[in-house]
């Protein structure tokens, strides 16, 4: 990383820096550091003549380190990789270091994908992503990049156990739940047969028993049933079992209401009073922050026509 000023650097003496011309009263005044301004002045000058060289590559690294959000710099750097026929593994090394501090930045992940796509080899990626997820287990960029890598390089085989490792650490990690759904249902050669559905349903039930208040596992369970066209009514014995264990999770009560609603619609009769009572209990006792919602839900149920 260069720290000397460019003006005193003999390597740059042939370049005439171009300052930013922002008029007299910009809406967004420049509040850049001197170091950043100078680097940008030189970048402007070389970009103007489309210079593709090692020194520009280093200049972009310097700028990215100060401001990783500038999309044009990244695009320029990508054009340099081609022009200089760079060893793309060196570029991955560069990103490895950068990501340690800036893994929340969009551009870094996007750049990584561009490089890996050019390279046509994803063998370093899972380890790279694992590290980011270890630092922040719900990093949205990391999980969505993981989906791309798994798909692009056909790396499905170990994903289910990776999800389970993550859920063992944090059963409430919704990103891991979402990844499970992706791994189970989006794999191109996946056979979604009865045994798969059964496995997923049983898995979520097990997780719900461990943490009945965890919305992630309830959402997953209901999502799987919907995806596979299974009726929520199949959940009745499970819900009863939870009730017998004195579990009073709002998710349990809300799912019970769903069952009553289905029954009423299917049998074309009005809603069982038990469902209305559950709405009242949720509103007053088990989920009071959503009392208005449960009131609204109650009126919805009462409106089911006979």
């Amino acid at each position: 990383m260069q720290t000397d000023s460019y003006a005193n650097n003999p390597e740059w003496e042939d370049v005439q820096p171009i300052p930013q011309d922002d008029g007299e009263n910009p809406l967004v005044p420049i509040a850049y550091s001197r170091e950043y301004s100078e680097a940008m002045d030189y970048f402007r000058a070389v970009a103007r003549v489309n210079e593709k060289s090692q020194r520009v590559l280093e200049l972009t690294a310097h700028i990215i380190d100060m401001n990783p959000a500038h999309y044009t710099i990244w695009q320029y750097r990508q054009s340099l990789l081609d022009a200089l026929k760079m060893d793309l593994n060196t570029e991955l090394d560069f990103i490895d270091v950068l990501a340690e501090e800036k893994s929340k930045n969009y551009q870094i992940w996007h750049h990584r994908q561009v490089v890996v796509e050019k390279l046509g080899n994803g063998s370093r990626e899972i380890a790279f992503i694992n590290k980011a997820i270890e630092d922040d287990s719900k990093n949205y960029h990391a999980w969505s990049y993981r989906q791309w890598v798994v798909q692009a390089f056909n790396l499905w085989d170990n994903e289910l156990s990776y999800v389970e490792d993550n859920l063992r650490i944090d059963i409430r990690n919704n990103s891991a739940w979402n990844h499970r759904y992706f791994v189970v249902f989006s794999r191109p050669d996946a056979k979604i047969d009865d045994s798969t559905v059964q496995r997923e349903v049983e898995f979520s039930k097990r997780m719900i028993k461990i943490a009945p208040n965890n919305g992630s596992s309830w959402n997953y369970l209901l999502g799987v049933l919907r995806k596979c066209g299974q009726s929520v009514e199949t959940l009745e014995p499970f819900l009863d079992e939870l009730s017998k264990d004195n579990i009073q999770s709002p998710h349990l009560l809300s799912t019970k209401i769903l069952l009553y609603e289905h029954a009423a619609q299917k049998q074309e009769r009005s809603i069982n009073d038990e469902a209305l009572k559950l709405c009242d209990e949720l509103a007053s006792k088990y989920d009071p922050i959503r009392s208005k919602y449960w009131g609204y839900r109650k009126s919805q149920l009462q409106a089911i026509s006979i």
């Binding site: 171009i18 300052p19 930013q20 011309d21 922002d22 008029g23 007299e24 009263n25 910009p26 809406l27 967004v28 420049i30 940008m40 002045d41 402007r44 000058a45 970009a47 103007r48 500038h70 999309y71 044009t72 695009q75 320029y76 969009y106 996007h110 994908q113 561009v114 719900k138 949205y140 999980w143 969505s144 989906q147 409430r172 990690n173 919704n174 990103s175 979402n178 759904y181 992706f182 989006s186 965890n214 919305g215 992630s216 959402n219 997953y220 209901l222 999502g223 799987v224 919907r226 995806k227 922050i289 959503r290 009392s291 208005k292 919602y293 609204y296 919805q300």
Partner: protein, 317 residues
């Protein structure tokens, strides 16, 4: 450009924009915004059709010219969809008549940035496509009253496909459901008039949004509450006609806890204030009809003064 929007937007919500900004600043800021417009290059129409619109700053060093009618094509000096959205919003808030906006060039740029699957790339040459830019493209088309840059059926299909098993939107298909993406998807459908076609299950989506309330709102299940998600999810609920189901007493007390003694809002009670969360905090209070704040259009995410100004420009009240 986006930071400027949060500042101008906050002032507008506070009803202070006209008194806080002098006539001289107003004129010069409008000029500065126009100086960020990338226009077609008559000598290189072919390439410049991808690059028109507004950029975030004059970083590329071309000379300052708010009255330009063309821009010399430079592959490193391109507009972006998010900056075009916030530039237009800023112009409306500052009371400009949009007469220097090259509508046709912007619609052409949008058309070329829309992908096969209906999503948008933010800028030419980027493959970072997702639901945020679909939303921005819809706002831009609404403001310009020109939808020729949006294939509405494809954009609707993309948003529909972005709803996960949780019935809320992720950044793109298969992505985890997320408050920001959900705001973008619902607002885009609202602007396209496609709420019915684009939602997999409206009731379940409303339920998901309401379930995100702790006191403030979290952006995803089991995450911490954060001022910005109070607006993203509150705004989605407003567009779905269900904001009245929010627990406003709790929401208000959360927002008050994120306000700092120096003024402004942080993302939570421990964080320092910043312009994004300050705007989001005010915008949420505006949804709750807090006295002293003006209204806000939640489909466009623009304070009502800007939207009223647009209506006047378009000749309807």
């Amino acid at each position: 450009m986006t930071l400027a929007f949060f500042c101008l937007g906050s002032l507008s919500l506070l009803g202070q924009l006209d008194s806080a900004v002098s006539e001289k600043d107003r004129k010069e800021w409008i000029d500065w915004i126009y100086a960020q417009q990338v226009l077609p290059d008559p000598e290189d129409l072919d390439k410049s059709r991808y690059t028109c619109g507004f950029k975030g700053s004059s970083w590329a060093g071309h000379s300052y010219d708010p009255q330009a009618t063309s821009t010399k094509y430079d592959p490193n000096d391109t507009a972006s969809i998010p900056n075009t959205y916030t530039a237009l919003a800023n112009l409306l808030l500052l009371g400009d008549d949009l007469s220097r906006v090259n509508t046709k060039a912007i619609a052409t740029m949008l058309k070329h940035l829309q992908q096969e699957d209906g999503s948008y790339a933010p800028t030419y040459g980027s493959s970072e496509t997702d639901i945020r830019f679909v939303f921005c493209a819809c706002v831009i088309s609404h403001i310009l009253d020109d939808w020729s840059g949006v294939d509405i059926d494809r954009a609707t299909a993309f948003i529909r496909n972005s709803q996960s098993y949780e019935n809320a939107m992720g950044q793109s298909p298969e992505g985890e459901a997320h408050g920001g993406s959900t705001f973008c998807g619902v607002a885009a459908l609202t602007l396209m008039g496609k709420l019915k076609e684009g939602l997999v299950d409206r009731d379940e989506l409303i339920k998901w949004c309401l379930a995100r309330q702790i006191s403030g709102f979290q952006g995803r299940p089991n995450k911490k509450e954060d001022t910005c998600y109070c607006f993203w999810i509150g705004g989605a609920l407003q567009n779905l006609g269900a904001f009245h189901l929010v627990n406003d007493a709790n929401l208000r007390s959360f927002l008050m806890s994120t306000q700092t003694i120096r003024g402004g809002f942080g993302k939570d009670s421990e964080s320092p204030p910043d312009v994004l969360h300050s705007y989001m905090g005010l915008a949420t209070l505006s949804l709750m009809k807090e006295p002293g704040l003006t209204e806000l259009d939640t489909a466009l995410n623009i304070p009502i003064a800007g939207v009223n100004h647009l209506r006047k420009l378009r000749g309807h009240q």
